[in-house]
Structure formats: structure tokens, C-alpha cells
Symmetry: D2
Subunit: 415 residues, 4 copies
């Protein structure tokens, strides 16, 4: 005896790969399929529609197949409402809870499809019934006893974004694998175009920055981009801020003068002295206001009122006042930044980029830059449809980017 | 005014991605399509069939689209014969010559489809008419004045292998990107199974080896695999052979004792002494027969009559007698090895692996092992349908592989 | 007018490089020297002694030179007492505070040399006068108002450990750069010997573990080493513990079955389900006691009472109960582990390895294993005199290590 | 019974590390030493002098120690003449032949010290007695029957260059390990300064180039440096030249338009068409003269009469006419280039860089640029005293370098 259910696919399901994926899932997972209806888009502007009957030997297999099909955009032909169950206590979800993708998602409640707010991977979906029924994502540690959590597979519709075509604007430019053998300057030019376009449209650009950016001498150019309004927010760690300010106070980063390349003897202590001085001043804002700190990325953030999050980590010295040392609190601050960003630059930091990437919907534009191809690959694997990666040197990338963004536009552009 | 032509696709064209690829090519290259017929395979065992009319603004665009479609398995609905033109002189092809893929290919001559012998990338196709008409690939430097070379796009049929399903035996095991975060021992076990299976079926396993294999201490285990008949041929460079024999004569590889890890002072001269001694003996075979060399990979090749090719390169010391110093001659020797191999292990050498990979049809099983993820990615990008990559340490890979292959089977297995 | 001071060097100051370093520092920093006395050790067992007069143009330069000489083992010929100043408030050090190296260090208080407890990099030295005067390191955030903190350069004696000779036991084995072209199995054997030796002498082995260890299939073998008493403590993050337990509950790590290599569809949700189940059970210990978790590294830690620290980070899902989410608290827990360790294995994690490394004195034995050479280089650069690095695959390293450690000794060895 | 011999050291033997090295060698190799005389340079301008008696248990050990000491600048106190023996036949050296370092070396013939011409690693020294006695290096395959070859350890004096101080000009700038976390633009500026300085002094700059340079879009800027006379010679392979010319003929490199980033469909065939066109034209020079090729690096070489060597390899398509396919012949051409170069830029090619590096004396300035840190490390390990390495993106390095070199100086500078 076998069990069966019908699913539907709609859209550019062939050239987006959706159809291929659906067939593969069913076969790989031990199911069978019959194509009941197939209306192919006869030309490139028409969408296609398919209805399949999926068959499996038992309910468990069928459920697994349907779950996987959902997540890839094949939805039940005649959907039920989503099943809801209360969270038994804080941070504990009901058995069989639905764990989200980062794609736009709807859940069916009382016969109506409700969009899930702030799509994010690996969350629960909490439904709040009422005048206006809402559905929102909740990370495990934000689930509260009594929250109505979606369970099972029914009544959930996932809409993975179709892959952009090569010719579709700035983000069609890099398809396929990660390689350092790409035309570097031309690629940076396209990233610059995308930043300018995002800014013109009133969008926000978030830069996620690692300390290597400072060590490699790119600090002044990033500061210019912040000042000119092309980078609207900074997500970083204590180390980034320390070395940024060290450069201001001592002319060094990790003890190396980034202009003359001199190793200041005693210079490896500069970062500790820097932290101590900022604590003495009462924090980063106070240090800027007192005139202790007079340049750099953090300085421009304070002076131009660009929000920043400094998340603590176990390798920090200090940390600087204002660093959020609790990982859960820091994640919440990062989540807020991520939800506001329309474009994210991930610049030479794996830890912070993963943290930000975890909170992003698959529709946000992402650019990952690192000299280690494995880092770029790992970041691109997280499922953004609009992510591009570049294996290059952050110390040359940022200066060239700043020149291409600011060159024609002047310093007072942006917002 | 537009121009149009019909093409056909047949097979598992949806789940193999062929259909998606065809649609993408046409749209990316500025063409249009109409789906004239589409018979979908209604279940996973049935194949599908599609006939499309491809339209473009001019002949040049249409030609380019059709060329690209060919190479991906979409063939003209009503094929003409292939066009042939004589090579004007040695090493010079006629204008517009057809440059091959590494997929199985047929050319239509006098109304009949002739399979092209030894499919290999980036070659010309030479047709020899006669009692039995033949078509064969020829690298540029092997083209001779008067050879009848296929030109243009007509009368050529390419059949790219469908991607294997996950469940289809040993080579379904690794799909997707290259990562070092895969289960290492289990992956090696599957490679071992594939070697044993290939050997049992009478197939030939070719190992392409870099000197790192010797430096990392894997020499003895590779020698055991050669002796036991699981590695049937060796493709390497002068350096590999020198360090293999250095280990025999001096107990070192590049001057390091691979067992005790002692740096033999003076040891960095051992490889020069080794070359000199082998030259004195009259070559590798003579050195083995004289009893000068008593162990190692080259020793086992000589004693067990396994063919090897040592290709010279510009970084060689020496080189050892028997090294083929001319690159074109060496390629020809490598090509012969590659055509005889049923499975190829690429072990820690980019140069030799690319050289061998260039000569392989897309249907040969390939395993690429390197500690540098960029090397593995580059090798896998060369278009084999049956290639798997592993980012691991050759110095632990080969010992574990040898144990898994030889463990149950004993030393006298293989052939 | 110039200023001058005398410094002394003692020990194997030539072959340990101390003399060379001292000369280089003085010349690089713009000073001059006169060798007043030089008694060379006439044979390899005799130590040497040198007294130099260091001259500079001004006090600032001389101070900088003397500071640098101190840190490299050249101490003032007639030392003064260390200068002490009270910390003005919590987390704020007095101006010119002395920032520590990770070498054994003494400070001179009331004419007597007091060893600084728990040497650690980038700390302040706090002196507690009294019946028994003590000196201890304090990280910035542990400095309290009124603490007497060492400032300036006087009265501080640093004793950098001499580099071990090649022949001196297990840790003489790897000198020089980081390379993947080392004999892998033999190197692992020497690491195994060092672990067995450390354990026999009653020392503690701390393993710092990243999640790649689980993904790459090395979990069972690390669990065996914990069970057998060769790994005494674990330092890791939430991700490591989650995937370790995921493997127990679902047979997967990040959704991949580490034995069969099957990608469990839906498997990418397993880690979320795992966290939820452990929260439901009330924590890791409870999950083991309830019989929910029955194998793995965390299981062996609980059952065999091996202490572990799980430090939170901003990329965590969950996290699991027991994860220390505050970075400063987590550092304190890590610091305690680090101080108790006699040997540290850093296994495929940069973040946690740096955190542990920050707390280690330069005399602790350290083994760094990673497939990324840049990670190994970065870890070795942190100044341990007894650190060895290995660029290899953690998924093959741990199994071979376990076999070499446990092979002859049996499962009940260790403590 | 023990054997003993006296050796001398002279120069800045402490701060250059020579003394430390000598002590280490003797002790590591099981010898003993007595310091007979030690006159220390009392200030930084004075050199030191030491005479040691080295003792060992047997002649073999003593010989080994003395050999190693030689190579590191400790020479016998009362030297004998070098021993000479005739090569028994072509390519075969007499037993115990002396294998060279790449340091300046003298051999003692008839009581006189003769400098060895063209110092190069891993060669034999051939002495030609006569009116003016000469000594020259010979690679194994250049040794001819009857050549008088230096054997044993006596009568050879090696003078390893002292490491440059940090402050000594452009090449003092990068000491220590290889890292991507260095200030990129400032480092490139210093490389630019060194190129300008070398050119001003009439020296020759040799660029060793891999195809990644073309793929990454740096071709036009390298061409400018050739045209302006800052790059005097090119050492590359067939692939570099093919892609350089492909960019001219088709606007692509490996089929990618390096400006628009479009993947020309059919573009992966462009390199084959390029080769065929150049063969048809009769070679690169002819293709330039005929007006077929109108831009690029090879074009500038032809037009400005800069010598180039294209060395063949087994991965070549074609190759282009003029490529030297025999590895031994190609090495000889490379050797000639290397001997004429005063500064060498190794740009994104391991194979060709190793080949050139093998032929360089340790006194030539070398800059190694690659995005893979393992490549840079491997190249720097080859023993140049004046080598600097940079882990960066060749596609951004060359444009910035060109701007810094050509910015102020204009296009007609250089020679």
C-alpha cells in the first residue's frame, strides 16, 4: 500500500531549476511521481505550471519528501491550514515544530495565507491570532511558553527566489564557483555600481568588518565611504574597533605602521594601551567628543551618526566599552541591523559574516570578500539568491572600491 | 527579419538539467524559443522529449546559440552532414573548425552518424573517409596538411553524460562543492570501493602523483597498491621519481627522514646525488636490476611491469634518464595512458593532473585529492561527469586508502 | 649628550639566538652597544654571560630599547625595584602600566624578585604586598580600583624559554615553517608519544575542538581518547556540542550521515531539533542521565567526569543550556582550563584556539592542527616556545592519533 | 678516539645569526666545539671573529658537520686546495661531488681562491685550469665527460649574504612570515620604489607571469610597465601568451570578457582559435607585424624589443610557435634570463617561479606575489636573502603597482 499527495509548481520552473530540483528530491528520497498536468511556458516570458502526484511507500517518507519539496517551492495542491501547538515552556518548542528557511514564506491560518515576517533560517514560526493575524519568526531562545508555534508540514508555502539571469543588472555578474582568477577591477566596479544604486534608491548598506581590514591599510578608505554616506551601518567586533582607534592614537595596527610598514618596537602593546585609554575616556563616543580620537571608521560613525554594533568574542582583549559581550544580546542587535540592510558587504571576517548572514532573508544582496577561498565558499553556501563572492585582498579591494564609488560622485553624495 | 531552426532534446532532460541549460542558453544569448512538442516522462523511468524552435535576429547569433546548444546535448531536429575542409598545412586548421568537448560525440558523414574516437577537449575532428569511415580527435599540433577537418556547427551530435544520482553506487557519493568538512574516512572507504570494483571488472586504475606524496610519507602505501595490482599505471614527473628513489637510497625525501622526521644535514643534496647515481646506473630499470634501488613506487612499477610516464618540466633537477623532456612528446605519452584508464586518481599534483585531465573523456571516473581546495576546485571544473574531489592530506589519505583496499583482499589480489 | 645603561644576558645566549636578538634590537631601534664582558661557553654544556652598555640619544629611545630587551631576556645589570601605581578605577590602569609577555617573569619588590603567577600575554601585573608578597597577572577587565599595578620598565625580569634542540624528545620534532609536505603519519606518531608521555607524568591534556571535527567523522575517535583518559578536558563552542549530540540523536552532522555519506533530506534541520531536545531534557548532563544521549564526546565527558567549557559566540543557534554566552565569563572559564593544561591540542578551530592560546604561558606544549595553513601559522605566531603545527585533515588526523595512542596501551590506560 | 678540525667565522656573525647557526649545526649533528678565539665586535660597526675547534667521533660525522658549516659561512681555518676529479662521462659526476648553494662561493685552486661564476643551487662546480683559471657551476645535464669537478669538502668557501636590517631601504621592509594581513598599498609602494630604483641604476627587471594575471584583468597595466621600460624581460608559459593574445583578438581571457565580465558563449574555444590564428600567421612576431595582434604584453615585448621566454609544459594547448617545448632547453633559456636579472617579480605562477628561482643567486632581489599563501611560502623558502612575499590579488596588485611606478614618472621613463 502506498500513500500519495498532489503538489503544484508555478513560475519559470524549468530555467530556474525548480522542476529539476523537485524531480531529484522525489527520486533521491525514494518516492515516485506522475506528471498530471504540465503547461510549459512556450516562450521566455510565459511561466509554466506543473501538477504532480507524489507517491511513497509510507507516510513518513511522503512527509519527508513533501517537506523538502516545500522548501524548494513545490507546494501542496490543496493546502490545509498550518498546524499550531503551544510552546510547553520558554525556549522549548513543541515536537515536530517547523524550522524555517530564509526564503519568503507564508503560512495558512484560518484559510488565509499570512506572510511570515522577517524570514530567517532555522527559526520557529509563531502565529499571533487576533484582529490582524500575524506570523513571525522566532529563534529558539526567543520562544516563550504558550507561543503558538507552527508544526508539521501542512499549510506552509515557501517561495525561493529565482536565480537572476546573467544580464539582469549589477547582481547578475557573478555566477558559478568561487575563484581568484576573475577580473578583479571590473568586478569591483560592479560592486561599486550596486552600492551606488542601493544608496540612490534610499537603501541601507551594512558593512561587516574584520580587523584584517585595518591591518591591511584599508581603514581610511572605508572611513571615507562611511563619511560620504555609502556605508550606513557597521557590524564588527571589539578587535576591529580597537585597531581602528590604535591607528588613530599610535599610527599602527597590531603594532605595524600601516604607511611606513615600520614595526614599532613596543608596538604590539599599542592595542592594550588603546583599550585602556578608551576606558579611561569613558567609551568610544566620549573619546571622540573629547578629541582623543580624531579619525577612522569608528570616528566617522560617531560624527555622522551611523549606527554600529560591536559584538564581543572570547578572543577579545578588553573589551572596549560598548562592546556587547553577551552572545545572545549581540545576536539580537545584529539581527536588527540585518533586517534593516538592503545590501551587505562582508569584509574579511568569517565569524561576524556568519552571524549577520544567519539573520538575513535570501532576498538581501550580499557581497563576500575574503582572501581565503574557503571562507567565501562557506559564506555563499548559506543560501542567499543574491550573493556574490570575491577572492581578493581586502587591502586593495577597499581602496579601489572607494575610488570607484566616490570618484565621479564627490564626497558629499550618499545620504 | 529573424532566422529560426529546430532542435531536439531527449532523455532525462529535466532532472539532468539539460532542459534548464538549453532554456538558459537561448535566453542568455539573446534568442527566443517556442516549445513545439514536449512529451514529459511521466515517471522516473520514462524519458522525455522536447522539440523547440529557436529564433534569433541574425544568422551569427543563431549559429552561436546552436553551437552552445549542441555542446550541451540539444541537437538539430533535421541534421545535415558535417562540413569538412582540408587543413591548409601542418598544425593549421581551416577557418571555423569545430573545437571538441570531452563528451561522447558523433559526426554525420554521408548521412551516417560516425562516433568520434577518443573524445577529448579542445581538439579538431578529422574524418577519414573510406571503406570504414572514421572520425577521430586531433590536437592542434597533430593536424597534418590535407586532413579533412570538421568545420561549422552542422552534423555534430554531442551527448553529455547525465549526472549520476546520489544512490547510484560508489560515484554518487559526492555532489556539490568542495569542502574539507566532509567525513574523511567514510569518503576514503568509498574511493576504495570504487578502486576494488574497477579492478574486479578488469578496468585500469591510473595514479597521477606529485612529489608531496613522497614527502608526506605515503610512498610505501602507494607502492603496496601498485604491487597488489590496484594501481595499474603511474603518471608523474621527474621530481616524484627522484624523491621516491631518494627515500630508497638515503631514507629521506627532500632531505627529511620520513619516519624519524630527522632533517639529515646535507640531506637537501640527496636528491641531486640520487639523480647522479641513477644516471651512473644507466636509468631506473637498470638501477632496479642492479640492486641499487630496492623499494618504492618506481621499484614496484619496474618489478611488476606497470607502465609509467615521467614527464619533464622546467623545474626539474637532472632529470632522470627516461624522463620525457619534450612537452609535446610527453603529452602524447600521457594521452595514451589517459585513454587506457578506467579510473584516475589525481594525487597532490596540479600540473600533471591538468595534463592528464585534458586528455580524458567526460565518462572516465576521476578522484582528485589535494590539501588545497583551490586545486581540487580547478580540477573538478574540467567537466568530468564522474569526478569527485576531496580536500585532505595525501599523507594520511594514501595509508588509509591502502588499508581499506588491501585490508580484506590480501596482498596478491588485483591483477 | 647620550644616555646609557648596562644590561646582562646569561644562558645559552648564542645558540638560543638571545644574543643575536639583543644586538638586532639595539641597532634596529637606533641605539649603540659596547660589549663590556663576554664569557663564552667554551663547549655545548657551558652557559655564556655577556654584559653590554646600551647607549641612546635620549631617555625615550633608551627606555624603548630596554623595554624590548627585557622582553627578550636581557635584564638590567643593577636592577631597581619595580615601580607601582594604584589603578585609578575599575578596568583602568595607571599610565605607563607594564603589559606582560607570556614568558616566565619576575618583578622586584622591596629588593626581592617575586615570580609573577600565571604568566599570560597582554596583562597588567598586580602586586599584593603583605606577609607573603605576591605578583599576579590581571587582564584589563579584572583590574580593580586601588590595585597596585607595575608601571615602567624597571625591576622586571623576563625569561623567554630557549628553543628546544631537534633531538630533545617529542617536541623537538618540528621546527621552521608550516607546510603540508611533512611526513604525516610519523608526525602524528610523535604527537601521540607526547600525549602518552604527558599523561604518564600526570599532566593534563586539553583538547580545543571545532565542529569540523564532527563533520569530518572524527567524533568517535576523540570520544575514545576522552574515555581512555588521554584527553582530560574539552574547550569548545556550542556548535561542536550540538553536532556531537546531533550525531547521536540523528546519525548526522550538519545533516550528513558521517558513515554512509547520505545527505539526509531534512537533515539540515537536525541541529535545531537537537538543541530543542536538549533544552527540553534540561541540559546536556540531564540528557545523558535520562538516556537521551548515549555516545560521543560530550557523553564521555559527562560519564567520565571530564570538565568541559562551552563558550558561546554570535553565530550560535540555540545555544545549548550550559553554554557560557558572556564573552568575559567564558574567557575566565577558558583561562582556568588553560592554566591547568600541560598540553593543548588545537583541533580545527581558530576562534577557540586563539582564545585558549591567549591565556597560555609560553612554556605549555601546544599542537595546532588545521587544514588551512594560514590558521596554523596564525596560531604558531602567538609565541609559544613549544608549539608545533600540522597542516592536515582533522578527519584523518584524529583516527590515526587515536590508533597510535590507544593501540598498544589498551582502552583502560590513562587516568 | 675523536677527530677534530678548526673553522673560522668572520663578519657580523652574531647579529646575522651565523654564530648561532654554527653552534646549532655542531650540536645537532653530534659534534663538540671549543671556542679557541672570540673577538667580539664591540660596537655595531665592528665585525667579530671566532675560531672554533670542532670535534666528532669519526671522520664521517666530522665531514658532515664541516660540509654543513661551510654552507653556512664557517670555513676551515687552514684551507687546503679543493679536490678535483674528472667526470667519468656526460651527465655523470664523480662520486662525492660538491653540490652548490646559491650563495657567492670561492674554490681554492693551486693556493688561490677563485670565485665560482653564476652561483646557482644544486650544481656541480667545474674548474677550468689555464691562463686564467675559472670555476663555474654546471647543472647535472651540462656536465661533460672529462670536466674537472670539485669533490669533497675542502677548499670551498661560501659567503651567505647577511640578512638586511629593517632600515636598509626598500628591501628591508618585509621580514618574517607570510601573511595577508599586511598593509597592502604601502607594501606595493615599496615594491614600486624598488623597481624604479633598480631601473634608475640600469638594472634589469624580469617579470615571471602566470595566466591568472590575464584572467584577473591585469594585462593592460603590465603591458604599460613593459612599454615604459620598467619591466625588461618576461618569463612565462604558453598559456600566458595565449590568453594575452586571446584578449586582443576576442576581448576575452579563457572566454570571459575581462571588462564587462560577460561569459562569451563559445568563449571557451577562443584560446584554441587564438593558437590556430597565430600558427597561421607564422608566429607571435609575425602576428604583430601583420597587424593581427595590436595590444598586450606580448605585443609590447615585440614592439619594444624586450626579450621573452615562453617555456612549454604538459598542460599546454598548441603550443604557440616560439614556445620552447623541451624542458632542458627551456631551462637553459630561463637560466640566461635569470642571470641577467637584477630584480625578479614572480607574479601568480608557481611552476615558472620555481624554475626561475632555481637559477638565481641568493643576492638577486625577488618579489613573490600570489593569492595562495602556500605558494608564497614555498617560493620564499628557496633561500634568497632579498626575497619578499606578498599574499594578495594579482588583479589588483598590478594596476596599483603600475600607477605607483608610472604615476609621477610618466610613460617615457625607464629605458
Amino acid at each position: 500500500m502506498t500513500v500519495a499527495r498532489e503538489v503544484e509548481l508555478e513560475g519559470h520552473i524549468i530555467d530556474s531549476g525548480t522542476m529539476e530540483t523537485a524531480f531529484s528530491i522525489i527520486m533521491d528520497m525514494g518516492g515516485e511521481f506522475d506528471v498530471e498536468t504540465f503547461d510549459i511556458g512556450r516562450s521566455k516570458t510565459e511561466t509554466s505550471y506543473a501538477r504532480l502526484t507524489v507517491t511513497a511507500d509510507d507516510e513518513a517518507t511522503l512527509d519527508a519528501i513533501l517537506h523538502e519539496l516545500h522548501q524548494n517551492g513545490a507546494n501542496p495542491a490543496d493546502p490545509d491550514d498550518a498546524e499550531l501547538a503551544p510552546a510547553p515552556r520558554d525556549q522549548v518548542v513543541p515536537p515536530g515544530f517547523y524550522s524555517t528557511t530564509n526564503h519568503p514564506t507564508d503560512v495558512r491560518v484560518d484559510g488565509e495565507w499570512i506572510p511570515v515576517e522577517d524570514p530567517e533560517m532555522d527559526c520557529a514560526v509563531v502565529v499571533e491570532r487576533g484582529a490582524g493575524t500575524r506570523a513571525r519568526t522566532a529563534v529558539l531562545n526567543a520562544v516563550e511558553a504558550g507561543d503558538m508555534v507552527v508544526t508539521g508540514e501542512a499549510g506552509i508555502r515557501v517561495d525561493p527566489p529565482e536565480r537572476p539571469r546573467e544580464s539582469e543588472g549589477a547582481f547578475g555578474f557573478m555566477q558559478g564557483g568561487v575563484s581568484s582568477e576573475r577580473p578583479s577591477e571590473s568586478t569591483i566596479e560592479q560592486v561599486a555600481d550596486a552600492i551606488v544604486e542601493t544608496t540612490r534608491e534610499g537603501g541601507d548598506v551594512l558593512a561587516v568588518c574584520g580587523p584584517a581590514l585595518i591591518h591591511s591599510g584599508a581603514r581610511e578608505d572605508l572611513a571615507r565611504l562611511v563619511r560620504a554616506g555609502y556605508v550606513d551601518a557597521i557590524s564588527a567586533g571589539n578587535g576591529f574597533a580597537v585597531h581602528d582607534i590604535e591607528r588613530d592614537l599610535y599610527g599602527t595596527s597590531l603594532g605595524v605602521n600601516t604607511e611606513t610598514l615600520d614595526h614599532a618596537r613596543k608596538g604590539h602593546k599599542h592595542h592594550i594601551y588603546t583599550i585602556s585609554e578608551v576606558i579611561r575616556a569613558g567609551g568610544i563616543e566620549a573619546a571622540v567628543e573629547d578629541g582623543l580620537v580624531e579619525s577612522g571608521v569608528m570616528y566617522e560613525c560617531v560624527v555622522n551618526d551611523r549606527p554600529y554594533v560591536l559584538a564581543g568574542s572570547i578572543r577579545d582583549d578588553g573589551p572596549l566599552p560598548g562592546t556587547i559581550t553577551d552572545a545572545v544580546e549581540a545576536q539580537n542587535a545584529i539581527r536588527e541591523q540585518a533586517h534593516e540592510a538592503d545590501m551587505v558587504l562582508m569584509l574579511s571576517t568569517l565569524l561576524h559574516s556568519v552571524a549577520v548572514g544567519n539573520c538575513l532573508p535570501s532576498t538581501t544582496r550580499v557581497v563576500c570578500v575574503d582572501i581565503n577561498p574557503a571562507t567565501v565558499t562557506q559564506l555563499l553556501d548559506r543560501g542567499s539568491a543574491q550573493a556574490v563572492g570575491m577572492v581578493t585582498d581586502i587591502g586593495t579591494f577597499v581602496p579601489i572600491l572607494a575610488e570607484k564609488v566616490l570618484g565621479g560622485a564627490g564626497a558629499d553624495s550618499g545620504h
